[in-house]
């Protein structure tokens, strides 16, 4: 999101403090020392992660500090993880498998490539999941593992985390 604040010492700290107060995690701060308007304000762009539902609280705290928020660009699904599934994917209701992830509300299947070599032969699929947080990704993968066990599918996870 893009913040606008007064060009005074201590203003940047005042803008950042509330973020940790609401449990947010600052990923990047881009501080351009060019006054954006005729008034004496500074533009600062902050990239951050916030737990679901904390944004109104943060905005309120920022306003109390005299910091105005110019623009909020919300990217909900920050984390991405690609896995491969092998087995009788269609016969075990692929849409239900996808739905079990989507139903969490905080992780979604965003891409699926399916190869079906022959009738009755196991098919292979590459599945991309996106999630709001790292913890939600872990949860989505746990769900997928449980579904795979129940449906007798093989799940191949990436070596490195999302």
């Amino acid at each position: 999101m893009k913040l606008e604040m007064k060009d005074q010492p201590g203003q940047l700290v005042a803008a950042l403090k509330p973020i940790s107060a609401v449990g947010g995690n600052i990923i990047a701060v881009i501080h351009q020392r060019e006054t954006s308007t005729a008034t004496e304000t500074l533009d600062v762009q902050i990239v951050l992660e916030l737990p679901e539902g904390r944004l109104p609280n943060l905005l309120e705290l920022l306003r109390a500090q005299g910091v105005s928020v110019v623009r909020i660009g919300e990217e909900r699904l920050l984390y991405e993880c690609t896995l491969i599934m092998i087995g009788h994917l269609m016969h075990t209701d692929l849409s239900d498998t996808v739905d079990q992830i989507d139903r969490t509300g905080s992780a979604e299947v965003t891409e699926l490539s399916l190869v079906m070599p022959a009738i009755d032969a196991p098919s292979s699929a590459r599945i991309t999941i996106r999630s709001t947080t790292r913890a939600e990704m872990k949860r989505a993968i746990r769900i997928l593992r449980a579904v795979a066990e129940q449906k007798n599918l093989l799940i191949i996870e990436p070596l490195e985390d999302a």
């Binding site: 690609t82 896995l83 491969i84 092998i86 087995g87 490539s113 190869v115 070599p117 196991p122 098919s123 292979s124 699929a125 590459r126 093989l154 191949i156 996870e157 990436p158 070596l159």
Partner: protein, 328 residues
């Protein structure tokens, strides 16, 4: 230094050939295979024993058992290189116990006794003032155990992961390179002698799992068994799955992983970027160790083979000789 050699298959013969070829100052005073044994305090003629074995015969006298060699031969170190039994570790476990009780050092390539009974054997060795070394049990020629025990002493290991089974790595390399099915690649591995007639131990991840247990129990201070390893093999992998990975500039490898802090021991096929250092070709092994002081280290080398495994055994023998064996 005098050794008694139990096991005269691929590894045992590799050790004998290395002793013959190099001036290692090692004399073999006892030798046994599954059918026979021989004891000679003056030193056994290894060339003749290799020739007998090469002709399909026993290495020694059918009237001499491995237990006789352990109990009666005059030696400083028992070298136990018989095939692994992951269920009971016998008969190797009994032979190792007997040697330690005779105040003899032991060097083994046998995963069974180390995976199943390391704490007991370590205590027994300590009580008898001798050493128990097992470098050859994990990743053949790669001196991984020595590196972790000696070179990385003082480091805390947060994660250890890699390719621990050359047979699986060969199969996956061939599936990715040629689009072979699992069955075709396995047949090829068998023809080349990389896979056993019954490949279960390799392809179901049991071999890799046992190696994780050894590393966890002997170096990472964990107390685990094979049952604690979450294990998935490679038998269900399809050429399509490898192609789907390839589309992302990735491939699939059977990865063994230990995360000591989280109690994770896991063997499973994983998607790995092709540029990753663990993506090694053919029967190679590769292991990455994440250490707090040293940072990440990756070891790559031959995980099996007669001469390669002999290298690890001889490294252990010379370690013992340089530190402990007097008058040799």
């Amino acid at each position: 230094m005098r050794i008694a050699l139990l096991g005269f298959g691929s590894v045992g013969q590799g050790i004998a050939r290395a002793i013959l070829a190099k001036d290692l100052d090692i004399i073999v005073t006892g030798l046994a295979d599954s059918r026979s044994g021989t004891i000679d305090a003056g030193g056994i003629d290894l060339l003749a024993a290799l020739a007998r074995k090469g002709d399909g015969g026993p290495c020694g006298n059918p009237g001499v058992s491995p237990a006789d060699v352990v109990a009666k031969a005059e030696y400083d170190v028992l070298v136990e290189v018989t095939p692994t039994n992951v269920e009971t570790a016998e008969p190797a476990l009994g032979h190792i116990r007997a040697a330690l009780q005779r105040h003899k050092h032991v060097v083994t390539s046998n995963k069974g006794p180390i995976a199943l009974a390391y704490p007991e054997l370590r205590d027994l060795a300590e009580a008898n003032g001798v050493l128990l070394k097992y470098e050859a049990t994990v990743c053949g020629a790669i001196p991984l155990i020595h590196a972790m025990q000696e070179g990385l002493a003082g480091n805390t290991i947060s994660r250890l992961y890699g390719v621990f089974n050359g047979t699986c790595n060969y199969i996956l390399t061939r599936m990715a390179a040629e689009g072979l099915t699992y069955e075709q690649a396995l047949a090829e591995a068998r023809e080349l002698g990389y896979a056993e007639a019954d490949p279960t131990y390799d392809v179901e991840g049991i071999d890799a799992g046992v190696k994780l247990v050894i590393l966890a129990n002997t170096i990472l201070d964990m107390h685990t068994t094979l049952d604690d390893v979450e294990r998935t093999g490679i038998t269900l992998l399809t050429p399509d799955a490898l192609q789907l990975a390839e589309d992302l500039d990735c491939t699939i490898r059977l990865i063994g992983e230990i995360i000591p802090g989280a109690g994770v021991l896991r063997v499973s096929p994983r998607i790995v970027p092709k540029v990753h250092p663990l993506v090694v070709e053919g029967t190679l092994n590769a292991v990455t160790v994440e250490a707090d002081l040293a940072g990440d280290l990756t070891f790559i080398g031959k995980g099996a083979g007669s001469t390669e495994t002999a290298s690890a055994v001889i490294g252990d023998l010379l370690y013992i000789r340089d530190r402990h064996v007097q008058g040799s």
